[in-house]
């Protein structure tokens, strides 16, 4: 499709008018835009919501600059996450994905905005709603989907599943609520220790925010000035329990007490990016940890076994979808500022859909892991050993 566009575009450039000329081929019903990149606004400045701050001089700037390239990239990534999660929903209902599956649709601006504010050489850890982060941290849709379907091409060779995906500098994917927070501070400790000016982004939800180990972590991270950005993704519900019923204080950005905090509009990818940049600067300058609360929303229930409507209304979900959808927000901004065309974005949608379809195809046809992989990966860097099977006569082999 892209190739065809380029050829036709070149042909048209060779001929007469170039501004705003559109060619509609009757036969194929293809709309080809002959507008060149010079027609689009290369960058624009957008107002973003003010962040409430806690023990901070100032929050991020009230305006964010977005370039066309950045906009298209954020759009593509968010759309990829969105479609990937919806495909996972479909595959789960067809029983091709099993076990636990916690979907991220609605929260895309968080993962994409955070990644835009840090580098791939930084570190990140999150809980079980992790598919989006696996992607932004370098995983491919193919290997994520194949992991969900439990195949050998999965990012964890089919052994981890939805909640246990890892990539370089991405420490999962963690199933036990809150446990990832001390882990994240530990990664930050290593960053400081090794002196490479890297930091760790450590995510948890509103449900986890009440965990004791998080407060223990705040204390040590602060005492030892660890380069750790704690991020609470507040999607208003911990499984089926609303924040008011679980937390004596729902000002999650203040819960770090002695740790400076900011509350961020988690549905606006630019707001998230600017806040993350500020937080990253804070950590890299040696000031210690900082806390961000991202106010966001999940469209799906807690997991695939939760319809998500027994503790909240369909109206509420619909309201967020129509008024605050992160992808729509970015799309509207770009279109109304002439930073992209409708066709261009539609084309991205088509490409994303194709990528997801291909990945789903792979994920459903790739074979399951081989049985002789069953006992591997118990120990690292160890000689091969024997593992007891289900009975004393079955001795299985384990290789590092």
């Amino acid at each position: 499709m892209r190739k065809m566009l380029t050829i036709i575009s070149n042909v048209l450039r060779g001929s007469a008018s170039r501004n705003g000329a559109e060619l509609v081929s009757e036969g194929a019903r293809v709309v080809v835009s002959a507008r060149t990149y010079a027609d689009f606004t290369p960058q624009a400045s957008f107002d973003i919501k003010k962040c409430d701050v806690h023990k901070l001089e100032e929050g991020p700037p009230l305006q964010a600059v977005l370039t066309r390239e950045e906009g298209l990239q954020y759009y593509r990534t968010m759309q990829t996450i969105r479609r990937m999660e919806l495909k996972a929903d479909q595959l789960y209902k067809q029983k091709i994905i099993r076990g636990f599956c916690h979907l991220y649709d609605g929260q895309e601006a968080c993962a994409v905005g955070i990644e835009a504010g840090i580098n791939l050489s930084d570190h990140l850890i999150t809980a079980y709603r992790a598919h989006g982060y696996t992607l932004t941290r370098g995983g491919t849709v193919r290997e994520i989907m194949a992991e969900l379907t439990g195949r050998r091409g999965g990012i964890a060779k089919g052994k981890g599943g939805s909640m246990h995906m890892y990539t370089k500098h991405f420490y999962g994917g963690n199933g036990i609520v809150g446990a990832q927070v001390p882990l994240g501070a530990g990664v930050a400790l290593a960053c400081k220790y090794l002196g490479k000016n890297e930091l760790c982004v450590c995510l948890y939800g509103d449900g986890a925010a009440n965990q004791g180990q998080i407060f223990e972590t705040y204390n040590m991270a602060s005492l030892w000035k660890l380069p750790c950005i704690f991020i609470c993704e507040n999607n208003k519900y911990g499984m089926g329990t609303s924040v008011e019923r679980a937390a004596a204080s729902t000002d999650y950005y203040k819960r770090g007490d002695f740790i400076p905090g900011l509350r961020v509009d988690g549905m606006d990818v630019l707001c998230v990016r600017e806040a993350t940049k500020l937080a990253a600067e804070h950590c890299r300058s040696g000031k210690g940890p900082i806390l961000m609360e991202l106010q966001t929303y999940r469209y799906h229930g807690h997991s695939m076994s939760d319809p998500g409507i027994s503790y909240r209304t369909r109206d509420e979900i619909q309201e967020v979808r129509s008024k605050s959808d992160p992808i729509s927000m970015l799309k509207d901004r770009m279109l109304s500022n002439n930073m992209a065309s409708v066709e261009e974005l539609k084309e991205i949608d088509v490409e994303v859909r194709k990528e997801i379809e291909d990945a789903a195809q792979f994920a459903t046809t790739d074979p399951e892991p081989p049985l002789d992989d069953l006992c591997n990966h118990i120990f690292y860097n160890d000689p091969p050993m024997e593992v007891r099977g289900t009975n004393p006569w079955t001795k299985l082999k384990s290789i590092s």
């Binding site: 089919g158 939805s162 009440n210 069953l374």
Partner: protein, 359 residues
Amino acid sequence: MASLRCFLRSGKKAVTAVLRREFHGTPPAAVQVTVRDALNQAMDEELERDERVFLLGEEVAQYDGAYKVSRGLWKKYGDKRIIDTPITEMGFAGIAVGAAMAGLRPICEFMTFNFSMQAIDQVINSAAKTYYMSAGLQSVPIVFRGPNGASAGVAAQHSQCFAAWYGHCPGLKVVSPWSAEDARGLLKSAIRDDNPVVFLENELMYGVPFEMSEEVQSKDFLIPIGKAKIERQGTHITLVSHSRMVSLCLDAAAVLAKEGIECEVINMRTIRPLDAEAIETSIMKTNHLVTVEGGWPQFGIGAEILARIMEGPAFNYLDSPAVRVTGVDIPMPYAKILEDNSVPQIKDIIFSIKKTLNV
């Protein structure tokens, strides 16, 4: 009429049948009840019977329970008796133990026992050991309950069996029901017991229906903690198991019966205190033993049973070494083919039985 009811409750089935036929002309009303419903009814009845009993845990109230075991209870008993907690196991387990110390009778639910690891200090150090440390001054009448062991496709952090871990500790009673009858009778006993009881359910068994006799349906039906049950009589080999694995043992026994091998299947019902006597009596009859569990082999349930048999009178009755069928010694993988091969299957049990019997 009252004395007639007493007759019925005391379980004299023949008398029951006769009397019923005389008065009503119909046989005793057995019903099909799932394990989930049995647990639900047991809790409902105990909440009604004793004001001091209350339930706390994640999603137990307004969500009706993560696995719907506490469905309808919040609607019936309200906020005071059915309490939704934040996701903070160490904290709420400690709170539950404290409440038990001060005279209440809490049921503390762990959404799965994997999460009890976050709270295990409270279970062991605050609950299990206190009566001993206080030389009898302070008791802790608490029940910790929730699903234990492998489920389906929930991967390594959500599939561990804790029977051996809790069974290791003096001061705790550890119970592992299999059928709906077990669930009902043992939960009632656990709630009425004045000691800390760890009640290990199984998610895959929740939806399984069992026939429940009239007697079992009665409000005061209790199963004593510490007594195993022989689910199937046999003469050639003793199979000892708990929870979901009892189903597999019965299935294996059915297959082998066609080949003329009669297995005696013992449902442990209680992990601690272990009913060694029931196992010994059976071995003295069959001369062979295979234990079956879902958990890992090292230092597990089977390991303890085999050690006790070695140390006891039944050892001399064994015609071949006793053997354990267990989960594979690895963290639980996610992919279906790997998961299926990580837990005992019926064919593994049959294989082990035949090797033990040398057939």
